[in-house]
């Protein structure tokens, strides 16, 4: 099967589409706090010799790291969960003041069919929190939305020095199963 660069192939899941899009934008650094929704992109980044993949202890480290990588001339993206957005708020001032391209892909908790109510406060405040700090947001709730939204967000980040986040909703990911 001939694959069109950057286009989803038949049988590919939305998870498989994420890293190829980032590669097409010449992303060289994938920094992340682990999450099942990002597992395919993290696995792909770790297998790619041209990409530095890096686990963080907390999400705001990724903002500083990507600012530094951009100062040095390279692009990156931050993969994280909605609960981590709360950790980032003060650090987002770094992007607001320096206008470096910041691309965040955020898997959502606490926005639909959430079993653990402790996830709900941050999950339901995630989008508004990002918007308050000047981050533009788009939400994907179905698989067909993922690729175009990441394309658009990456384009606005890297072509316009914007802070952009794509929120990957729980309806897309599927509710986490805690007990059988």
């Amino acid at each position: 099967m001939t694959a069109v660069k950057g286009q989803p192939r038949q049988g590919e899941t939305w998870q498989d589409q994420v890293l190829p899009i980032l590669r097409n934008f010449d992303v060289r650094h994938i920094v992340y706090v682990p999450d099942a929704g990002h597992a395919a992109a993290i696995r792909g980044a770790e297998a790619d010799n041209e990409i530095t993949s890096l686990a963080l202890t907390t999400e705001e480290e990724g903002i500083g790291y990507l600012a530094g990588a951009w100062l040095g001339g390279e692009r990156g993206a931050l993969l994280m969960q909605s609960s981590g957005v709360g950790n980032c708020l003060n650090t987002l001032a770094l992007q607001a003041m320096t206008k470096f391209p910041l691309l965040m892909l955020v898997t959502m908790r606490g926005d639909w069919a959430e079993f653990n109510p402790w996830q709900n406060p941050m999950g339901q405040a995630t989008e508004a929190s990002l918007n308050l700090m000047g981050v533009r947001t788009w939400r994907a709730d179905t698989p067909d939305q993922v690729a175009p939204l990441i394309q658009g967000a990456a384009s606005m980040a890297f072509n316009g020095n914007e802070a952009c986040a794509v929120l990957l909703g729980q309806r897309l990911i599927g509710a986490k199963k805690w007990v059988k």
Binding site: E61, G64, A69, G72, G73, T98
Partner: protein
């Protein structure tokens, strides 16, 4: 005299004949110290995002692998970014050096004692995070050795430099973050957008 080092003398020695050195400063006094040693287009001054000096320096070191990168920050700022030491410890870029100007106090906010001033030794935390070279520096010979290490790019290095609490004049670097960022990138030959 306390026998502790003068922060401006320390910074001037570290930034002497800097060549291709890239510098990230933590907010507050280390930014003023770097500015007092002479503004430079390859200085990146933080004015907020406390705790980020370590991560910005790390990202820079990872994208500019052949250049020495110095993170010059204070003990309070470093304390807010301790997790970053563990993150850096996974990778350990050899061109990254930390000089933490440690006076054991939060100078910017009223000189309250910091954790470092209450017995937490930051260089031991860096050692616990796999840093291959860590040191407590308390004399100018140690500062000169640290400067040599920065340029040698011989392994991720971390020094706490014990400085006097004495207040010195503020020498304010530019606060325009976009300007400082663009100036820095231009100096490396990168477009601003």
């Amino acid at each position: 005299m306390t026998g502790l080092l003068d922060r401006r003398a320390v910074t001037a020695e570290l930034l002497k004949d800097r060549g291709d050195l890239l510098v990230v400063t933590g907010l507050g006094s280390p930014s003023y110290d770097a500015m007092a040693a002479g503004d430079h287009d390859q200085n990146f001054y933080l004015w907020a995002a406390m705790g980020s000096a370590a991560t910005v320096g790390f990202g820079l070191a990872m994208s500019q692998r052949t250049r020495p990168v110095l993170v010059l920050t204070g003990d309070g700022e470093m304390l807010m970014g301790l997790g970053a030491l563990a993150t850096i410890g996974q990778v350990l870029p050899p061109n990254l050096t930390f000089a933490v100007l440690d006076n054991g106090h939060y100078g910017e906010t009223g000189m309250q004692q910091s954790h470092a001033g209450r017995g937490i030794e930051l260089s031991r935390m860096a050692a616990a995070a796999n840093f291959p070279w860590t040191k407590v520096v308390d004399d100018m010979a140690g500062v000169a050795e640290l400067r040599d290490r920065i340029h040698a790019r011989a392994g991720t290095s971390f020094a706490t430099v014990k400085i006097d609490v004495g207040e010195v004049d503020r020498v304010l670097p530019p606060r325009d973050g976009v300007y400082v960022k663009n100036r820095f990138r231009n100096a490396l030959g990168h477009p601003t957008l």
